[in-house]
């Protein structure tokens, strides 16, 4: 069980980014997350930090969360490559994952080995075996978003930094919203029978 988190500072963009930058900064400094609630320690370049990263569980969470968000982005790109008519429907969802990726990338050191998910080139026509039917493709994305939400919840639960936990929980909520909006889009754009996966 994580120790009681440090009190969050006033809720501002800076505070949220502190959640990330404390993670990133602690990578370089080798210090413990969450001991610096006012965020005065500026994040330093994280390149030196494999050893420190091992000391800091939140960095591992950031790396795992980043991999999940990137995988979702890749899956959306793959679906769009096959189903161009979904561009309008998927555009806000894609933008959300982009925002998540760019924020998490600040906390994940570049030299930290990515865990499970292979990065897929977005130009690859069909890396996921995108279903040829649009509604089936949306159903698959919906399931992926639900899984992403579940893992983000776990990451949030485990985070030592309260500000970082808040950020991860918000990303979990965003993925849950996506999984819901993708389903009616699927049922309204095609045949009534749901595509079995």
């Amino acid at each position: 069980m994580p120790p009681p988190p440090s009190p969050p500072v006033e809720v501002t963009r800076r505070a949220v980014l502190t959640g990330v930058s404390v993670v990133a900064g602690s990578v370089a400094a080798g210090c413990t997350i969450g001991r610096d609630p006012d965020g005065t320690a500026a994040p330093k370049p994280a390149a030196t930090s494999k050893r420190a990263a091992q000391l800091d569980p939140d960095v591992g969470l950031a790396v795992a969360a980043l991999a999940g968000e990137q995988a979702a982005l890749d899956a959306i790109e793959a679906v769009l490559a096959r189903h161009r008519k979904l561009r309008r429907a998927l555009s806000p969802i894609k933008a959300a994952h982009r925002a998540h990726v760019s924020l998490l990338a600040q906390a994940a050191p570049e030299d930290y080995p990515a865990p499970t998910t292979p990065s897929l080139p977005s130009t690859s026509p069909d890396p996921f075996g995108v279903p040829p039917r649009r509604e089936a493709a949306l159903n698959r994305l919906s399931a992926l978003e639900l899984a992403l939400s579940t893992s983000a919840k776990r990451h949030s639960f485990a985070a030592e930094s309260g500000a970082f936990a808040r950020l991860l929980a918000s990303m979990a909520a965003a993925a849950a919203q996506h999984s819901v909006v993708l389903v009616p889009a699927a049922s309204s754009s095609g045949s009534p029978e749901a595509a079995p996966q």
């Binding site: 808040r166 918000s170 979990a172 909520a173 965003a174 919203q177």
Partner: protein, 141 residues
């Protein structure tokens, strides 16, 4: 914010949510808008359950749960059906922010509770004609 303060703040939010849902639910026409009426009733029941859970979570640590206010400010005009639905959406958006703050200030089972409430509230926004946002409950992003 201490973990206890976070619990009390969230409980105060639930008191407000119940008041506002009570008013909105009383104004939604069951015959003209049965679906919206049902969603409001479900939301009310959910928040009432959360209020009771928070009350007991606070009692567990030997503190006195904050009591409800006499009345609360309603979201902007809530008279027509679209306004009522919009009011419910705004209410859930506020709740989402409160839950997100509770995530930051708690750990263990209480944080898990806040994470689940945050996700549920964000999804409920969709049922009130809301759109997905990149960072639910985190207004500054």
């Amino acid at each position: 914010m201490t973990p206890l303060e976070a619990l009390q703040t969230t409980l105060a939010g639930e008191h407000a949510a119940l008041y506002v849902y009570g008013v909105i639910g009383g104004r939604v026409s069951v015959s003209a808008e049965p679906a919206l009426s049902k969603r409001i009733a479900t939301a009310y029941t959910t928040h009432r359950g959360r209020r009771d859970q928070l009350t007991s979570m606070i009692r567990v640590v030997d503190a006195d749960p904050v009591v409800a206010g006499v009345s609360y400010e309603l979201p902007n005009p809530v008279t027509t059906q679209p306004q009522l639905e919009r009011g419910a959406l705004q209410l859930e958006q506020r709740c989402t922010a409160v839950y997100a703050d509770m995530v930051a200030s708690t750990s263990g089972a209480n944080r898990q509770w806040a994470i689940n409430a945050l996700t549920d509230s964000a999804v409920r926004q969709i049922s009130f004609a809301g759109s997905p946002v990149p960072f639910p409950g985190v207004a500054e992003l």
